[in-house]
């Protein structure tokens, strides 16, 4: 699979994910996934205040596809709060041949040993262009070990998929990735 972005360049955020995320050394395949996930992001697309800066053609298409219901749901969750961009790793295919069955892994690498009160409590996955904007919301606990979940989701068309994680201290972490969809799968 080829990386998106004009030259597949790695942003600062991408490099930071690979080296500072605290990825276990004994799981090299996950490190590979993290590096690849970082490369999937649109080059130089700062998630910014609320939406990425349009740059490469795919980013323009994804930004143009943004639905009103996504914007409303996103504002309801995030409001004026600050996000740490690129802090949630999203592993999804560059291109989904079947929009009904798109595999995903999301990982917010902020874990702490038991007893320390700073861990991820909630993670919301948004679709920016499906009829319904919230794909799923996950709740983690101190017993989770890692704020990581894999599953399969539906995408109606090419769009940005955005993950917002919340920590026990109320801080927000964000990640996003664009998935190109050839055959849409929401039924709408």
């Amino acid at each position: 699979m080829t990386a998106h972005g004009k030259d597949g360049e790695q942003t600062d955020q991408g490099l930071r994910l690979g080296t500072e995320a605290g990825v276990d050394a004994d799981r090299p395949s996950r490190r590979d996934l993290l590096m690849r996930a970082a490369a999937l992001g649109v080059s130089a697309a700062a998630f910014g205040t609320a939406f990425p800066v349009a740059g490469a053609a795919l980013a323009d298409e994804a930004v143009a596809a943004r639905s009103d219901q996504f914007k409303a749901a996103y504002e309801a969750l995030v409001g004026e709060r600050k996000l740490t961009e690129g802090a949630v790793t999203m592993t999804l295919p560059d291109m989904a041949e079947n929009g009904n069955m798109v595999p995903f892994t999301v990982y917010a690498p902020l874990e702490s040993p038991p007893g320390i009160d700073d861990y991820v409590t909630k993670l919301t996955i948004f679709s920016t262009a499906n009829p319904q904007p919230v794909i799923a919301t996950f709740g983690f606990t101190r017993l989770s070990g890692r704020a990581e979940v894999s599953g399969r989701l539906r995408l109606a068309k090419t769009q940005d998929v955005i993950a917002i994680a919340e920590t026990s201290k109320g801080e927000l972490l964000a990640g996003h990735t664009i998935v190109k969809v050839t055959v849409g799968g929401c039924g709408g």
């Binding site: 799923a136 979940v149 989701l153 539906r154 929401c186």
Partner: protein, 107 residues
Amino acid sequence: MEKPRYKLPEACKAGDVIDIKAVIIDPMETGNRRDPNGAIIPRKIINLFVATFNDVEVFRAAFGPGISANPYLSFTLRVPGPGQLVFAWTDDDGQKITETATLNVTA
């Protein structure tokens, strides 16, 4: 919904972070599809999955219609010690299916 299945490691130690996989058969009707007459087929999905360990919640997933049919999850648990995992799926009609699994925790 039917045929829930799960996968746990064969053995683990207290303190390990283990992967748990759970899946169940369900069409997860989105409420966006239309029948041949053009009428909307009503939404009917599994909207909640909860995993508990010795009766304490460890993980939950609230699904929207954007989750694929036969919803599959892989999530993690930091093993506190021996005990029982219970997985519970609930759908829009309030139906609930549970599965119980014992973790094989070696010293």
